[in-house]
């Protein structure tokens, strides 16, 4: 308990100090509210505007989850396919890496043109940002299977399916989860970007709306919500990981 507290209090104090400086600077230099609102102003806006934000938050969360699940699934399927067919891996792995030089955000307008303003183009954007970290982490984990354990399984006469399910997959699981955790935070970002470009609801839409009205305090509230959504996603993944990986993760 004590060690937990000793690692928690320094960052908390740092954040409080930062907010204090912010608050003081805004009142001392008399900064306009539409340029930089004080933390207290953002706080009160968050409380009063919470009801109006709720629907948007829910919409974004739904979009995030759908995109995340599809993106992660595709990432896993790709990694399994490339792992099982070595030729596919040599052929496609470099292309996979290259594909990450295309900024996904730049594709978003194109996707809107092709698929309209519905759910589909946004889900595609999230999928595009999500599948990559999952696929790479899974491929990496699968490729690093312990040689001694592999020798053991082969000498014991295990079939390649047994080797996959009983050795390669569990061995790669921690690595896969580190990819999924990255994908989880990316998925929130992907959803917000999708909503910026064309939507009639969601946190991204709300941000654009408040930006045009110079309601900087509300933009800050939206940012706060996005941060909380990201944390929520990471928390979900961490809980799932704790359930699935019970052995010592250090080794």
């Amino acid at each position: 308990m004590r060690s937990w507290w000793s690692s928690v209090w320094p960052p908390v104090v740092a954040v409080l100090f930062f907010l204090l400086v912010w608050q003081a600077a805004v009142s001392i230099f008399d900064i306009e509210k539409f340029i930089l609102p004080a933390p207290t102003a953002i706080g009160s806006e968050a409380v009063t505007g919470a009801a109006g934000l709720f629907q948007h938050t829910l919409a974004t969360l739904q979009l995030t989850l759908i995109g995340f699940i599809i993106g992660t699934t595709i990432g896993l399927v790709i990694s399994l396919a490339l792992h099982m067919v070595p030729f596919l891996k040599t052929a496609l792995y470099p292309l996979l890496i290259l594909s990450q030089n295309v900024p996904t955000i730049a594709l978003a307008p194109l996707l809107m043109i092709w698929f309209g303003f519905g759910m589909l183009p946004k889900v595609i954007v999230i999928t595009l940002v999500c599948f990559f970290p999952v696929a790479i982490a899974a491929l990496d984990g699968l490729a690093r299977t312990d040689r001694t354990m592999m020798n053991y399984m082969q000498m014991a006469g295990a079939t390649s399916w047994q080797i996959f399910t009983k050795l390669e997959l569990p061995h790669a699981l921690p690595s896969i989860f580190s990819g999924i955790r990255i994908a989880a935070t990316y998925s929130v970002m992907g959803a917000v970007i999708g909503e910026w470009i064309g939507s009639d609801r969601g946190i991204g839409y709300y941000m654009m709306l408040q930006k045009s009205g110079y309601r900087t305090d509300r933009v800050f509230v939206a940012i706060l919500v996005i941060v909380l959504l990201s944390l929520l996603m990471v928390l979900l993944i961490t809980l799932l990981e704790k359930r699935l990986i019970r052995w010592n993760r250090k080794s």
């Binding site: 001694t148 020798n151 082969q154 000498m155 014991a156 009983k166 061995h171 052995w247 010592n248």
Partner: protein
């Protein structure tokens, strides 16, 4: 260097006395292996031959880098020899996997499985009913002093206990021939001698056919019925020695004059071999 090994058929310097008429549980004939890459060639095994009779405990002693692990990989079917073959019960099984019970040098227990699930892995691979496999595993774990650790994960066990679990995993394999690759080399001296005594007890009870690699002469003499001495690279059999001590063996034989004489003889032979190669 003269070839002193008993040839695959009968005769030779040390004909296996009683068991000569039986088919060996494991026999390798004239194995040769050279690893090549673009730059270099490493000649690892040279005309290596050995036999393990049913129920016999056989050790291979050799300097490090004498291709002992390659030999196991060939027997296990992971590596193809350049020439020569592996026989089990008289059948040519060269390149076939899944015919030996293997205990690697590192315990290589799966960290995501409990100790019990690790021990029953070979039966699980064979498709044995889970309940039957579990009962078997429990019985052996109790025998091995691992009772109470069934549901523990391997990383919580000491090195000696991990080795015992790895040994049980090999012992639970339905295959007749066990191949132990320097099973105790990662342990400290005290744990090692404990483990040797433990293995001696378990083996004398089960009498499986065992082929063990070691570079510990005393360990080989204590446990084995016969010992093959391997030359430095390229590995070939220098000599086959029958260990004359009766079973069941007790640790006291370590102090027996004839034990010490034999030990000195082997270590002199190995030193000579190493010096010869060094020049």
């Amino acid at each position: 260097m003269t070839q002193q090994v008993a040839p695959p058929v009968q005769g030779g310097l040390n004909p296996p006395s009683v068991e000569a008429s039986r088919t060996p549980a494991l026999e390798v004939r004239n194995l040769r292996k050279t690893f090549r890459d673009r730059r270099s060639e490493v000649h690892v095994l040279d005309d290596l031959a050995l036999q393990v009779q049913p129920g016999e405990f056989v050790s291979i002693i050799g300097p490090s880098g004498s291709g002992k692990s390659t030999l196991f990989h060939i027997i296990g079917g992971l590596t193809a020899p350049d020439s020569g073959s592996v026989f089990m019960d008289g059948r040519d099984v060269t390149g076939k996997k899944g015919l030996i019970a293997y205990m690697p040098q590192q315990p290589a227990l799966f960290p995501w499985r409990t100790v019990e699930d690790n021990v029953l892995l070979p039966e699980e691979l064979r498709g044995t009913q889970k309940a039957v496999a579990r009962a078997n595993a429990r019985r052996w774990m109790e025998r091995a002093g691992l009772a109470g650790f069934e549901k523990a994960y391997p990383h919580t066990l000491s090195g000696g206990m991990q080795q015992r679990a790895a040994f049980l995993r090999a012992l639970m394999s339905p295959q007749e021939v066990m191949c132990l690759d320097e099973p105790f080399s990662a342990l400290d001296a005290l744990t090692r001698s404990d483990m040797q005594r433990w293995l001696l007890d378990i083996w004398e009870e089960t009498r499986r056919s065992v082929l063990m690699i070691t570079h510990h002469i005393e360990e080989a003499l204590l446990l084995s019925d016969s010992i093959y001495i391997l030359s430095a690279r390229p590995g070939a059999i220098l000599k086959r020695i029958e260990v004359p001590f009766p079973r069941p063996r007790r640790e006291e034989i370590l102090l027996d004059p004839s034990f010490i004489t034999l030990k000195t003889e082997i270590s002199a032979m190995m030193r000579e071999e190493q010096q010869e190669r060094g020049q």
